[in-house]
Symmetry: C2
Subunit: 215 residues, 2 copies
């Protein structure tokens, strides 16, 4: 018979090389497909070609692995936003440019939500226990997290004279809430069944609302 219980994963080297990273990658893949609940420790070790317990040499628990996946997912979101910002054609008018920046942050967020719903859900899933800081630490390639990218865009609006300075404080929360809420309702909420074009259209109107309501 073929060995039904191939318990010991076959690997040329006893050492794995970089199991920690391999587990993170596997976890990200799982999260991509099924959100935070799909990040199953045993499955991650399976994919890394290693016995379940090996994971505990690198993460104290499933929650720690999940936390690492969360951070990575958040960083991926930051990268997506940065890409959106990078693809921005620079309009002459500073005010228009500042507005475009804010919109780019929003559309980057929404684009990511549609492209990687599992990762977005994971990034913002509850950390089960950890108190955690008010705002995520992890950063994208530019060293900024999504929240900071949004803040920068808002600063730009103030500099361009579009947003009155007295309305700047806490404005991140307002803009973020609108975009995040829409993303969530679209990903797994009641707006799930809207067609992609509908979603894009409403997304644009949402950004209109934010822009108008904020300034």
């Amino acid at each position: 018979m073929s060995p039904t219980k191939a318990r010991a994963p076959k690997r040329s080297t006893y050492r794995h090389g970089d199991l920690r990273q391999a587990l993170l990658d596997a976890g990200l893949e799982l999260a991509r497909g099924g959100g935070p609940d799909a990040v199953v420790l045993r499955e991650a070790t399976r994919r890394a070609g290693v016995v379940p317990n090996a994971a505990y040499r690198h993460y104290a628990s499933r929650h720690e692995l999940l936390q690492a996946v969360r951070s990575a997912a958040l960083a991926a979101l930051a990268v997506a936003i940065e890409n959106e910002l990078a693809g921005l054609r620079r309009a002459g008018n500073p005010a228009a440019r500042a507005r475009a920046c804010l919109r780019a942050v929003g559309t980057g967020y929404l684009r990511f939500a549609q492209a990687e719903p599992g990762l977005l859900r994971t990034a913002f899933s509850v950390p089960d226990d950890l108190p955690g800081s008010a705002v995520p630490e992890k950063a994208g390639s530019s060293g900024l997290n999504p929240f900071q990218l949004l803040g920068a865009a808002l600063d730009g609006l103030v500099d361009a004279g579009v947003l009155p300075p007295e309305r700047r404080l806490g404005a991140e929360y307002l803009a973020w809430s609108a975009v995040h809420g829409f993303a969530m309702l679209v990903i797994d909420g009641p707006l799930r069944t809207l067609s992609p074009p509908q979603i894009r259209a409403i997304g644009q109107r949402l950004l209109d609302m934010v822009e108008k309501g904020l300034t």
Copy 2:
């Protein structure tokens, strides 16, 4: 010794009476405390004083029970919003009244989010598989679900001449996104650590933004 394995739950009657409802209640209680993941079938049956498998006479799977809990949680949200609307002092000006209605829907939503975070998270958790309609069916005591209550408030704005009719279509999505997103970020997102007064203040500004951005 006390019987370590009290397998057969002690009940005077072999029949339970209304196990279906008892399981729903237990599930709601679990969801209240820990969100959708806390709705554990075995624990629900335990609380109902019944063996795990008994649940399958009333729900085909854990997911079906969870779905029932979801509906109940959504109905609870609708009730909370209705209460907020009921407590509204009727201003003379129709326009002001319509605005107050919209605000009441928003504040009811946010109040519920703070009072029952577990239920709100459960109400909007992903239904795992079911396609489901675009908008929840279940209703509060007035027979309307939260989405419909919001729609009614927006209709009122149009009637009062505050909201241009051409902006009415899809306006629910915009308002809902903002409020829902804020609720989510506050419940288990990065805004978790804000103080309740801060939250209330920002919540009001959020509603300002929606009102201004929408009309």
